[in-house]
């Protein structure tokens, strides 16, 4: 039982990363019906920006210019990196997707894929092959809850990701911009006629998605300090699968599917040899999609048309 609970805690943390990345895929997909294949690499870029920002703040702090405690550095790092990475996302949209808005969707997906490769390669060129590590900003404290070990980092990671998801939910429900996004997801043709600044809303969507990915990148860096340029590839594609599994454009769906993917992977590794993780996790996904092709919360592509 303790082992089960321990894995539950671990999978909550693991699922947080997937859930946060999946949100970005899901938002873009719901508005543009587009697979943003560069998103995984934006997660990677976010992680690296986080490293840069935190080292910068640490240097300021230790030189006494800005004497602040480490926990505040962490908070500032997350916020500031999210802010910076959102611009990366908006630039990607401006360069790679906007010129192709009237082109076949697949062509835009290909530019996204290529931008992803450029981001990975650019990282390798800038930083070389050496691994970059996230600084240890907070001391790990471990709490023993009757055989289940929980660290303060794990609690923080899960809490931050849930908080961000909730904030996104409120943003989309409550604000004017969120309403514009929902409207565009509903009907892309009519909304521009209503005076909604389409380009701004799309840029904002990419910006928010990228900021969430950056948060995931930093949280990942806190849990597993060593970053590498290709970490976005595998995480990104898996989160992409989670986003679709959740259902088109569903915030709740993407979050749940992200956590579900985390659970599946951790529990498969608990029961079977860990090399079987991908095999079993994806077989389960394939099965789910076979029986619920539009995901957990997605509308069927066309409810009325049998074709």
């Amino acid at each position: 039982m303790a082992i089960f609970l321990q894995n539950l805690v671990n999978s909550l943390q693991w699922g947080s990363f997937y859930a946060l990345i999946a949100l970005g895929y899901s938002m873009v997909y719901s508005i543009l019906m587009l697979f943003n294949f560069a998103h995984g690499d934006i997660f990677m870029v976010g992680g690296y920006i986080g490293v840069g920002v935190s080292f910068g703040l640490l240097a300021l702090s230790s030189s006494g210019i800005l004497a602040i405690p480490n926990w505040l550095i962490l908070v500032l790092t997350i916020l500031f990196s999210m802010f910076l990475t959102s611009f990366v996302g908006m630039i990607v949209e401006r360069v790679g997707y906007r010129p192709l808005r009237n082109a076949p969707r697949a062509s835009a997906a290909i530019t996204g894929l290529m931008i992803g490769i450029i981001l990975e390669t650019g990282n390798l060129i800038l930083l070389g092959a050496r691994r970059v590590s996230f600084p240890s900003l907070i001391e790990t404290a471990t709490y023993d809850l009757g055989g289940v070990f929980v660290t303060n980092k794990k609690i923080m990671i899960v809490a931050v990701s849930l908080l961000l998801t909730l904030a996104l939910h409120q943003f989309i429900r409550r604000t004017k911009w969120g309403m514009a996004m929902r409207a565009m997801a509903f009907d892309f043709v009519a909304v521009p006629l209503m005076g909604v600044p389409v380009n701004k809303v799309i840029a904002l969507t990419f910006g928010i998605g990228s900021a969430l990915a950056a948060a995931a990148g930093i949280l990942f860096g806190i849990a597993y300090p060593v970053l590498d340029p290709y970490m976005g590839v595998l995480f990104g594609w898996k989160a992409f699968v989670a986003a679709i599994l959740g259902g088109r454009g569903s915030i709740l769906g993407a979050t749940l599917a992200g956590f579900l993917l985390g659970f599946t992977e951790i529990f498969v590794a608990m029961i079977f040899p860990s090399t079987l993780r991908d095999l079993i996790a994806y077989s389960i996904i394939l099965l789910i999609l076979t029986f619920r092709p539009h995901g957990f919360f997605g509308e069927p592509y066309s409810a009325r048309l049998r074709l």
């Binding site: 409810a303 009325r304 048309l305 049998r306 074709l307």
Partner: protein
Amino acid sequence: MPILEVRNMSHDFGGLRAVQNYSLDLEPGQIRGLIGPNGAGKTTIFNLLTGIYVPTEGEVMLNGTRINGLPAHRIASMGISRTFQNLLLWRHMTVLEHVKMARYSKIRYGLAGAFFGTPKRKREEAEIAERSYGLLEMMGIRHLADQVVLNLPYGAQRRVEMARALATEPRILLLDEPTAGMNPEELVQIMEIVRKVHKDFGLAILLIEHRLKVVMELCHKIQTVNFGELIAEGTPEEIQNDPKVIDAYLGKENVG
């Protein structure tokens, strides 16, 4: 015996009843009009008859065989063909390819022919092409055979759709507003074509049309639907004088 018989067909979209207790007896060689105000469910009836939607209730019989529930392509190959109100053409294909495509279910060379280009395939493709040229000739668009449909004027696109519909060798043709968006001159031409295909192929035709002139001139009998329900059926004269029709359809038009 009617060639197409519909008994109490109804259809729901979610909670909304779009078609209610629709019935039809279409005799071979008859031209039947289907009129009604916008949103009355006329196109939905077409989609139900051709298998694009499955009726929630009731049955559709083609030559005495029940066809509701069959896939749309099966129903089409059994002899119900149609055109679409808003021209559903294949944007990257040429005129000739459109007409040849409608022979799909009649092709016998199979996958071996498709992959390896057997002599049988060459023969059959040549046969289909010749037949298709014949149909294009009849529609007066043979000279456009190698054009991509997207580049054609609207009237020619309508003719392509008609040629394509005829290539499936239908016994019943469903025409969904064949004269929509046409000028008076084109209108006369398309009516001529409808008469001609009716005569040459001995088709039964079911026609959705907004222009009363066309319906009155072409049709032997007319049905009127409103809110998914049949409200009147009869000869053109009867329909013109039916107070319910005038209320639902003509009356509304006059006010509007």
